[in-house]
């Protein structure tokens, strides 16, 4: 009960923030009602998806300070669970999605247990290495289509199919992911002031001090890693129904993992609004880069170069990202 109340409690934010957030929330709710291009709609859906990815990453990566560069594998578990169950057994999204979350969390315990024995840069590198195991496996596993991946053929279903999340119009997908987006915000808002949220911030600051206060540092990290995993797995399931065509490379690849971490880091790791701000900046940039580079094969990979530059700029200038700058300016103004 208290947990539920604290999810809806934004009273520790300045009034200005709450007003801006309210206006943005209303804009997001009514956006599809105004005339818009298909490109704008697709970009908005991407923005919402990546916001939720970022919110999930932010629990372990931001509040917990564990730079996790391997989140995509769990996107893949969600996406493949939903796609396989739908294609083979016609099982709807609302069953396969929670199952995907369970599978992803189970895998996250197996990966997380040894992973969190490592610290700092070793941890970050190990997250990359372990994240590619599943991708390699799925690339050769015929049952899930190996490297070709899986395709959900929409002809089999009657539009709009709310159980299976098979729609012709993007507006339906928009509102589904918007729902997840709002739930995500409420969850993280409760999380950041929950016992686990406090414990993680303490761990980020100083692990020895945290354990002197009775916190099982290893276990707290593993638990939070599983929470982050649940977030990205849900969006992975959504991704399968929305894109309808999944491959190991783009649901489990390193590009996606880095992009997820980057959203939160650019916007502000360890703040509620950070991942949303990050996605709002990066997703248009990503779409633009894609359109601009198009099929220019020789330039493939330049987007990664740009992301790398952004990472370096953040770590050199303001580890707390854009939101960190906002807070700094604010505090200076008050003093």
């Amino acid at each position: 009960m208290e947990t539920l109340k604290s999810a809806f409690d934004f009273s520790d934010f300045p009034r200005l923030d709450i007003s801006i957030a309210g206006i943005i929330a209303i804009f997001l709710l009514v956006f599809p009602l105004f005339s818009h291009s298909a490109f704008a709609m697709a970009t908005m859906i991407q923005f919402l998806m990546f916001s939720v990815y970022g919110m999930g990453w932010n629990t372990i990566g931001g509040y917990g300070g564990q730079v996790d560069l391997g989140k995509a594998q769990y996107v893949g578990i969600g996406a493949y669970t939903t796609a396989v169950l739908l294609i083979r057994w016609n099982i709807p999204f609302w069953f396969s999605m929670p199952l995907g979350v369970c599978l992803a969390m189970a895998w996250s315990f197996i990966i997380g247990y040894p992973l969190f024995r490592l610290k700092g840069h070793y941890f970050a590198i190990a997250t990359i290495a372990t994240s590619l195991v599943l991708m390699d496996l799925f690339s050769v596993w015929e049952f899930v289509g190996a490297a070709r991946g899986l395709e959900i053929s929409p002809i089999k279903y009657h539009y709009p199919d709310f159980w299976r999340l098979i729609f012709k119009k993007d507006i339906y997908y928009y509102y589904v992911i918007l729902g997840f987006f709002f739930v995500g915000i409420l969850y993280v808002n409760g999380f950041r002031r929950s016992r686990l949220g406090f414990q993680l911030r303490s761990i980020r600051d100083n692990e020895e001090m945290a354990s002197s206060l009775g916190i099982n540092v290893h276990w707290a990290k593993i638990k939070t890693y599983a929470i982050a995993t649940a977030f990205v797995s849900v969006v992975g399931s959504f991704h399968a129904c929305y894109i309808k065509n999944i491959e190991p490379q783009d649901t489990m690849g390193l590009d996606l993992s880095i992009l997820i971490a980057l959203m939160a880091m650019l916007g502000g790791a360890g703040s509620l609004w950070g991942p949303i701000i990050g996605a709002a900046v990066l997703i248009p940039l990503k779409s633009y880069l894609k359109a601009w580079l198009g099929g220019a094969a020789g330039l493939a990979g330049i987007d990664l170069v740009i992301y790398a530059v952004i990472i370096m700029l953040i770590s050199a200038l303001e580890p707390r990202g854009i939101w960190g700058i906002v807070e700094k300016v604010r505090r200076r103004r008050w003093q």
């Binding site: 929950s194 016992r195 414990q199 911030r201 303490s202 020895e208 354990s211 002197s212 206060l213 916190i215």
Partner: protein, 247 residues
């Protein structure tokens, strides 16, 4: 039965014995000062008791249970809290958030943790700065926040490692008031590592002296201060001359 009992504790690093065959006990509600030259093994002793280091040999009994092999977070949950010599409270958290992390050891509920933390801040004369980030406070206040945080976890024994180092006389007064509150008012047992003699001699029921990893004296402050071996190893003749009236 003693609250804490340490039996023949030895801790070696490579060839170096940082703690050599140390035995002592702490009674419920007692305040024990620990003094000794730099490198004597004081901090190491805390690390062994609280489960941060595995001991090389010996036993630690707390509250009747053998806790020698327990990890740091497990000893904390049994009522053993500590502060650290090298760092103060979490700078990225506000004062009240720091104390709440401690209080969260006893409760899941945020409102309960917050109420408990507010009460502790009140007792520590830290009200009014609850929402300040600890990193922005003077070191003396940071040290007091660390003590308040450790207290939040509801310990039966509190290990304080040089909380008064580098502070001005006024600041030491404030710290002393906090320690007295913990000990006299709350009745919590305290072990206090300190180089600031005025503080140790005034507040301790008993003082233990370590030198080169060994316990060389253990007794009431006045007796220990007159012990020739202690004077030779640590206090020095000048200290005794200058502090006649105190002793």
């Amino acid at each position: 039965m003693a609250l804490l009992e340490v039996l023949n504790l030895t801790k070696t690093f490579g060839g170096l014995s940082a703690n050599q065959d140390i035995s002592f006990s702490v009674q419920e509600g007692e305040l024990v000062g620990i003094i000794g030259p730099n490198g004597a093994g004081k901090t190491t002793l805390f690390n062994c008791i609280s489960g941060f280091y595995p001991v090389s040999s010996g036993k630690v009994i707390f509250n009747g249970k053998n806790i020698t092999a327990l990890k740091a977070h497990e000893t904390a949950r049994r009522g053993l809290a500590r502060t650290f010599q090298i760092y103060a409270a979490s700078g990225d958290l506000t004062v009240i958030e720091n104390v709440m992390v401690g209080c969260f050891m006893r409760t899941r509920s945020r409102s309960k943790a917050q109420a408990a933390a507010e009460e502790i801040l009140n007792e520590f004369n830290l009200t009014g700065i609850g929402d300040v980030f600890v990193g922005e406070l003077p070191v003396a206040v940071q040290k007091r926040v660390t003590m308040a945080t450790a207290l939040g976890s509801g310990p039966r024994l509190l290990l304080l490692d040089e909380v008064a180092a580098g502070l001005t006389p006024n600041e030491i007064e404030e710290i002393m008031a906090n320690i007295r509150h913990i000990h006299s008012h709350l009745g919590i047992a305290v072990m206090l590592i300190e180089h600031v003699m005025e503080l140790v001699m005034k507040v301790s029921d008993r003082v233990m002296v370590l030198d080169y990893g060994r316990k060389i004296a253990d007794g009431p402050p006045r007796t220990v201060a007159k012990d020739p071996e202690v004077i030779k190893a640590y206090l020095g003749e000048r200290f005794v001359r200058e502090h006649q009236e105190m002793l």
